[in-house]
Symmetry: D2
Subunit: 473 residues, 4 copies
């Protein structure tokens, strides 16, 4: 099967040019100003952008929560992703207390099997760090799970202490893996939550008021300091607060290999959403919480100037009108399931709010949503660019199309959308995964289970690591 | 009993002038250009400095350690202090696991009773934070113990976690107390110590190599962030690393009420001392460790410009040639008792290395060693200045005198001196405590037990606290 | 003549205590808890603060402007100062193009002679820097004029270029003098003014809009950089913008001896005053202009933490309803005489807005308005403190008194007051200059011409200068 | 004429992959994993890097100096550039006092005509800023001269004052041009030079000692502040000092569009070169001067993390043994012609010292030496990448080849090489300019005069500019 995409404006992290792109089988064969080649199918992309498929390195599909799960599984979630122009995800497998990492790996492979419509990989969440687990990290890297997530928040659930973090970081350095960090000081937050509840503050907005920006900034600083002492890079997930970005920026100014993603919700929603009438604020309960709008310019500054390297979604949907969903927290904000949907809306939101407003270039959009996460997490250049030999994960994107985001039309398996009614410029019109057109004409043409597991490489590609910056005296 | 000190150069934190000072009983009655008053005794201070007695707010006398104790008790320690021009100390009472603070208070009062030759107060070390202890903090403040020390280092011994620290800080805000923080990331340090020992690194210098400056800087940043969230001031004890000072400076630039002391050992000794032949390096084993000499200019910068507010000693002596002392750690640096002597040498070392070299003014010397700690810890203006009504704690200091520091001549009960052989300018010639001459002509004229317990006030005097700087969204 | 002030709360930069103060002739003889001495006159200060007289190191009395002068001469200005609790000023003598500094010195001595009611000194404004002038700087220091002011603003009037500034700085280092800098980039400002007028923007607020904060911040940074290369301290006058303070703070964090004053107008007035109806905004036309209110917290942060060292007035009054005054600029903001009155209101405004609100301590108030300027400009300890031997420049200040500021009651020779109608806590009830009560019961009891010229010392007292921080490669 | 480059590792700013590249005429036609196309000529690039031709945006060919000129003209200079893998340069046309920019444009076109072997563009150096010149800037942009260089150094020669700089910046904003700034405080430097000579310091190293890093840092800060007030981007040329980079970094952290290049000499040579015996130090006399080696790590930090965006050469050669060259300054360092050769050695030096040592990635090497300068200066994507439609400016680079730099073998018309004897990895084996092989087998196969003038676009491509960051109050 071959495919010729003609006359589009081809955009990568670095380049923009008009040309033809020829796909042979699952990979890109050639790109030219005008390719004179016979193809099984020809798509006219005139006036459209041709970009590498989006890569979302932070999703929680079918994530266990309180006897139930996040409401998108690998089938509904990856199909929704595809509709939004995303052709690869990296989801989080979760180690269970007392069990080896292998079990979590197996469980998550099972969750994805027969369901994933696009390619997928796993980060491994570690809830415990002991000698056996440290050893097993190497086996995971061999399986292509080259990144490990640790939590400074959620004591009793995910939290591990600084000593454990430090050892896991040292080990990641030995095996070329990357540590992903949830950076919030969970011990302080738990004290604040307890105090708020004791004072009778039960509304959703107290979720935000008990997770101050400084708790994120502090943990961000600490994560980087631990990584500096372990002499390894670190990647901060879902950075939300300008105060945390300031810590990251300062570290990078010192030459440290510290990296972070932010998410669309922190760019386009803010604290005032928690004050929506009734229990509506619960829709936005996620961690870190939405912040004051005044910090968003600073996040864009970081995205533009490379103090932030990626935009992911932290997609983790729970229904609003569902006894097992957000309603669990009626009367006690601390019981609201944390998370919100976003896997489908990322590419368009960032194009609309970033590129169309002139905040970032179209190349930087591709870099933040595809090339850079691919490089950081060992998928590049198979994923993340449009180059001969790369996987034919391609989106034909109409920059002039417009749509209105709504739960009534989205494909995610959740009964609300945090951006309900928002009009956005830019539509992922045709989506191609490894040479196969899976989205076209507003329909999913693929097949659940066609997605493949991505065995990722270790070590960053791209930004090099500095020599040792740690002094011991 | 009355005393007239004539013709000296009177120096306070702010003023320098030649004049007479008249003491009536235990307090200063008047100061004038020339006082025409009859006194029981007249001292000629012509050509000498007349300064408020030194205040050392960080000592560990008779501190339990491994079945034994630090080798200076309240008698030998306070007499040595007096010889060095120090007339007040604040020592650390230590809560025992499972016991109330009151017990520690009682124990330490007992240690001091009949022994202290100068006035003394207590900080309270808290090893546990629960509701009962939090409540008892208020009772301690009523007793004049208005400062509490917490440890981010020494897991299993003193370490308490961030949640406990945060709650204790909140409580300190309610009762006007001050939190003193040992800021080193003990969990990382313990991991490094374990690894070093496993690799066969047992020499004293590994004490320093397993406690990197970044572990101190990280904890300093975290302590300040926790205090910011609790909206209280914080005081960092024994700040040693330029990296930690950078964190403090940045916080103060943001207007936060963060304070710190450093100690003479960090100004005049350095990492190379650990490389002295044989087991000599053990003499300098203290926490934080001695740092690279290159950071000392930065400490002086902080002292000059008020990013550091005090100089104390962390006096905690253990004998070098003693089976229960430093020798405990022969073959395993982690077993060397932490601490070194210094209660006697502080005033002269800082005068010599600070004032005589032009790094700080004579007023700043008085401020750092007496006025500022008195203000921070609720002793001012009873202590810390020379003003009518203040306690007559006075040192007649000969700026031109010289001495050579040596274990053979010092009065501390320890068999070595870290500054052995160092020649310093400036001698505390005559030392007066509440109107009584206790040091004169090289002899101690006082009486063990004459020292009184200082019931300290809560709340800072002097530098005001800013309004609330914490934003919660 | 002798004077006994009984029972007041004596406040200096460092100390606060209740006591008696005895003045013999022109100086302070003694201070005690209770002085049993016969005096020609006894004043009861119970419940009052007894503070060193205020020192205003930035005034422009009888300053030539466009054929006329600022409307307070040395008589009206110093009497108004005395009413406000200020007992010493340092005014600016202005070199004329082509004339030696000596001529300016003589002219200003002539202006003050027979008029000054309080003690006065001079800074010397240099409009030109050549070999002769550089040489003459030494002669000025011998006369007690130990500070020189240079302008980075006002091209064609006061502006001198960076090369000239640098040479004057080097020379100041040789002779122990201090450079005072007006730090605004006048060349940029002139371009903006020209453009604004060309666009028809003639209203007073364009005075502010053509002098952006960045123009001040840039010049502040540059002044400090030039001083760093010349290896001398520098003192920035009338710092107004938070952006400029950030530059100063960063320099001080690097250990550089950079100092600055701000003025009450920048703490209590702001840009919105320019938008008052009609031509009212002209009352506030001064340089630098009033800034956005949002920066004032940062100025207080600087005052509290010692990044700002002094508060002066830049008193330079022009009448509002006067053809030779502010009206000159009707129809062209650039022709409005720059300056506003303030010599009388400083002490009370800062007490009310600083001490009474808890932003700074009462000691810091004394330090900022008296002790610190005295130290920086070579008047200490003759001026700036209450200590035996110091000049008896004393204010008995009622902290509970209140007054309403108004042009109808003030003593300055100007027809408006920028703080009209503002109620302030704190009244300078009794003002004593060199032992003579000159203000009492709301009346001036002194005599024009009684003020003496202060021959100031060179070199700072107090904060020491660091060793050489400049690297040349 | 067509060309097929087979099997090379194609490297752009973002991508690295193995493939074939087909050139049709002057442009790249297509790129593929394996192209089955007939070409006039086929080159085997197996094991080699295929990169976009280098772009050197800072050269001074045939630059008038003291009656003579820099010793490479457009013929020798561009041929040497080609040998080093550079296929485009941007040289500096110099306005003459009192003459229009057009005259300079015409003069430089004349210099290049018939000589340039590769493509070339011009920046315009402006020595004067008046209304006529400001107007003429627009005409220059129409001619494709879209960048203007201003000097803060060299009073009397190139220096223009801040007001003129500011107006030129404002104008550049209107017409979409870019200001290039030589950022050194020339007024301070001239004072230091005068003093050094007066003190008899005539040796070459005084060139460095009279141009301190702070003079560059100050000017860098000022240039950015002026640009901020004018609300335009600014590009600092030949940044050399870590202190200057710190200013740039701080500005970029604030989100300002400030950019800078450094040069190989600042990465690989240092101050100690001035201390070479005899008059040898004169070889390295350039402005800014070589700096202390300790700052080089910081420059690499900036290059890696994008605080520095480009590496150019400032190629401006004068012979060492030539009465009209460096010898002019024997006995007076200030008369040594400023400048050194480098146009030929840039690509290999940065590959060797940057890529081969692991300091930067191979993509970042291409970005810094080609893509990024092309984007900043309006040449992209015609130049600076390997994409269909782009000019076929291509270098086949052997990463394993090695050479020894020497004046005896280089092609520049100068009698010394600052890197004499240095062994470097990486050789520009085959160099193609617009489809024509001009370097192959160590020979120049092109023809003087074949180079074309590049009419450059205005406005940056790539990094977007932020919205207005200037506040006026």
């Amino acid at each position: 099967m071959s495919l010729l995409i003609k006359g589009g404006t081809i955009v990568t992290a670095s380049d923009t040019y008009v040309g033809d792109l020829y796909v042979d089988g699952e990979t890109i064969h050639s790109i030219g100003t005008s390719l004179d080649v016979a193809a099984d199918r020809t798509l006219d992309a005139t006036g459209k952008l041709v970009i590498p498929g989006g890569i979302d390195v932070h999703t929680h599909l079918d994530m266990p929560f309180g006897g139930s799960s996040s409401v998108d599984d690998f089938q509904t979630g990856t199909i929704a992703a595809a509709f939004g122009g995303t052709t690869s995800i990296v989801d989080f497998a979760i180690q269970e207390f007392g069990n080896p990492l292998q079990q979590a790996y197996d469980t998550w492979q099972e969750k994805a099997r027969g369901k994933a419509a696009i390619d997928y990989g796993f980060h491994m969440i570690m809830r415990e760090v002991d000698d056996a687990i440290l050893k097993e990290m190497g086996a995971m890297v061999d399986l292509g799970v080259t990144s490990f997530k640790l939590f400074m928040a959620y004591p009793g659930v995910f939290f591990i202490d600084d000593g454990a973090i430090f050892k896991a970081m040292q080990r990641s350095g030995e095996i070329g893996a990357t540590i992903c960090m949830h950076a919030e000081n969970g011990l302080v937050i738990d004290a604040l939550v307890e105090q708020a509840l004791k004072q009778g503050h039960t509304e959703p907005r107290y979720h935000a008021l008990t997770r101050p920006p400084r708790a994120e900034a502090e943990a961000t600083h600490r994560a980087i300091a631990l990584a500096e002492m372990a002499n390894v890079p670190v990647y901060i997930v879902h950075l939300s607060a300008a105060e945390a970005l300031a810590e990251l920026t300062a570290a990078r100014d010192r030459g440290l290999p510290a990296f972070a993603e932010t998410c669309p919700q922190y760019l386009f929603l803010d604290y005032t959403n928690y004050t929506e009438p009734g229990f509506e604020g619960a829709k936005y309960v996620m961690s870190p919480p939405l912040r004051d709008k005044s910090g968003q310019d600073e996040l864009w500054r970081g995205l533009r100037g490379n103090d932030l390297q990626a935009i992911s979604t932290d997609h983790c949907p729970f229904c609003f009108n569902d006894a097992g969903g957000k309603l669990l927290g009626r009367g006690d904000f601390s019981k609201i399931p944390n998370g919100a949907p976003g896997i489908e809306t990322r590419m368009a939101l960032v194009f609309d709010g970033g590129v169309a407003t002139g905040r970032i270039s179209v190349n930087r959009w591709v870099e933040l949503t595809s090339a850079s996460p691919a490089k950081i997490f060992g998928m590049f250049p198979k994923k993340g660019t449009l180059a001969p030999g790369s996987d034919a994960d391609i989106v034909i994107f109409d920059p002039n199309g417009e749509s209105v985001i709504s739960a009534s039309s989205h494909h995610m398996n959740v009964d609300y959308n945090p951006y309900e009614g928002r009009r956005v410029r830019g539509i992922s019109e045709t989506v191609i995964s490894r040479g196969e057109v899976i989205i076209e004409g507003g329909s999913f043409l693929g097949r659940p289970g066609r997605g493949q597991f991505m065995q990722r490489d270790s070590r960053f590609v791209g930004e090099e690591l500095p020599w040792d910056t740690t002094s011991n005296t």
